[in-house]
């Protein structure tokens, strides 16, 4: 059996409240695996334990009980982070650095050096569409640009696993779609993605599997298609169907004992409509 990209076993995290006897249970007995090459969506309302789980996986917080592993290596070990790129929610990088300097700095932390590192920084700036802003200081970047440079720094050492916390927060629809396309491209390359997002429509578009956390517990987990499909219903979308043919279809359904639950014109998404109007889809 292949080693999972992330393995979480019986994870519990309890935060004591200073000067009080109470404790907050952020995560309770959580177990899940994220298989290599998958895009996994970790969902849940605010305070459900998503961020704490991510921080434990990244070794930023120690678990009260249980264990997390990245490609088979205990995530408490610094070495496990060789394979991880992380983009936190609303990231702030050093404002005094330019976009290019930021990537060079993070590259050096990953052991990259010299001409190769410079080349890599250029590639990544091109990838996230920030070539023209490479020499500008981060302090002058918009929120969307910060997300993009954050994504670029997460990719600097070619990680096998990307942990993305709300990667499209504050990004305009065109930028949001680019990030979504990038995530799908990562998947094509075999990069595993752990995605935390409140944008459920986006999660639905790109995730293979999801886990839903509520009050620190994993309440649902599985392949997205299995979880959200309605087994007793079938959807058929027809093009150029005449009214006569539709009448025949309704009659055939009635004869066969099936009930037509809903008839409607399919709609494009608001995002697609917006992009068509603003030219962002070109």
């Amino acid at each position: 059996m292949p080693t999972p990209a992330i393995s979480i076993q019986n994870l519990t995290k309890v935060f004591p409240i200073p000067f009080r006897r109470e404790k907050v249970v952020a995560v309770k007995d959580l177990s899940l695996n994220v298989e290599a090459g998958h895009v996994y969506g970790l969902l849940g309302p605010n305070g459900s334990g998503k961020s704490t789980t991510m921080k434990i996986v990244l070794g930023l917080v120690s678990p009260t009980a249980g264990k997390t592993e990245i490609f088979g290596r205990d995530s408490a070990e610094v070495e496990s982070r060789e394979d991880v790129g992380f983009l936190p929610e609303s990231p702030y990088f050093y404002k005094f650095l330019t976009g290019e300097e930021t990537l060079l700095f993070y590259g050096k932390l990953c052991g990259l050096r010299g001409a190769k590192l410079k080349e890599r920084a250029k590639e990544l700036l091109h990838l996230v569409g920030l070539e023209s802003a490479a020499a500008r200081r981060i302090g002058g970047y918009s929120k969307g640009m910060l997300q993009r440079i954050g994504l670029a720094q997460a990719l600097v050492q070619e990680p096998r696993l990307l942990v993305l916390d709300e990667p499209t927060a504050g990004v305009d629809p065109a930028g949001s779609r680019e990030i979504r396309d990038l995530i799908l491209a990562f998947k094509q390359r075999g990069i595993t993605v752990l995605l935390c997002s409140h944008l459920l429509s986006q999660v639905q578009e790109i995730c293979d599997r999801i886990g839903i956390l509520h009050e620190g517990r994993l309440v649902r987990e599985g392949a997205l298609a299995d979880l959200i499909s309605i087994d007793t219903q079938t959807e058929i979308v027809l093009e150029n169907a005449t009214p006569q043919f539709l009448d025949q279809l309704r009659a055939a359904a009635a004869r066969g004992g099936a009930k037509i639950v809903e008839e409607r014109k399919p709609q494009r998404t608001l995002e697609r409509y917006f992009l068509e109007v603003t030219g962002g889809g070109e």
Binding site: L58, G59, V61, R81, E82, L87, P91, Y106, G111, E158
Partner: protein, 303 residues
Amino acid sequence: MLDVFLTPMSAAPSATRHKLFSPARIWALASNTLLELVRLKVFYFLLLFALLIIGSSAFVVKFSFQEQFQVLKDVALGAMSIFTWLLAVLSTALLLPKDIEERTLYTILAKPVPRCEYLLGKLLGVLTLLFLATSLMSFLFVGVLYYREQGAIASLGDMPPDEFAAAVAAVKASTFSPSLIQGIVFIYLKAALCASLTLLLSTFASTTIFTIMVSVVVYFIGHVQALARDYWLRDATVGPLTKIFLAFVSLVFPDLQLFNVVDDIAAGAALPMAIFLKTSALGVIYIAVYFLAGYFLFQNKEL
């Protein structure tokens, strides 16, 4: 846009395997810290220092040359001591709480960077900044002192060669001496010690302002630590609770008074080499101990 990224994996640069302790990684963090502080324009205070010593130099022209040099050395070394301390405390207090507050720390520690390297990089960045600031102030001070020395020699006028040589020797003896370098080294070590101590405080303090306030209090306690140590070790009349308190002050706080040699050096007193070396070694030990204590707290900190 995706074409670049969709090159085969082998074409992309590969990071070197993780090393347990990487000087290159530490220097990347240290140079970044130095750059941060330089771009915060902390070197502007040097202008203030320049104004202070040039102003004091112009103010004392009516005194005898020995008095002129003593006042100049007093003012310059005293100002260097205060400026380097301020620089050490203010710049160090800023680093860690800001990284935590702005979540920059997450992106750094999510890379294969051990926490001790992060902390060491921050400290080395501040120590490099202090070294540069101390060096620049020293050059400025030595420049002004040399200028005043040459002025004093030029004003000696016509004298028989023997008397002139003796007068020049007297002028030179009251300007430059080896103890001046020792004094500058102590100023640097004291500031470095305060930086290490402030870094320790910032590992558990939640804000920059709290770190600065505690660091200032510690600075003042550090100047009376020797007094507390004397009472603790020699005075048998103090009660047990007072004794515990005195022991706490003596063991936890640094003895900063040891590094206060500016007045003696300005007055021309020589500092024995053995005392210089012992005090310097003690300074280095203080820096190391406070760094290790900071590392211990930071290693277990929940982010």
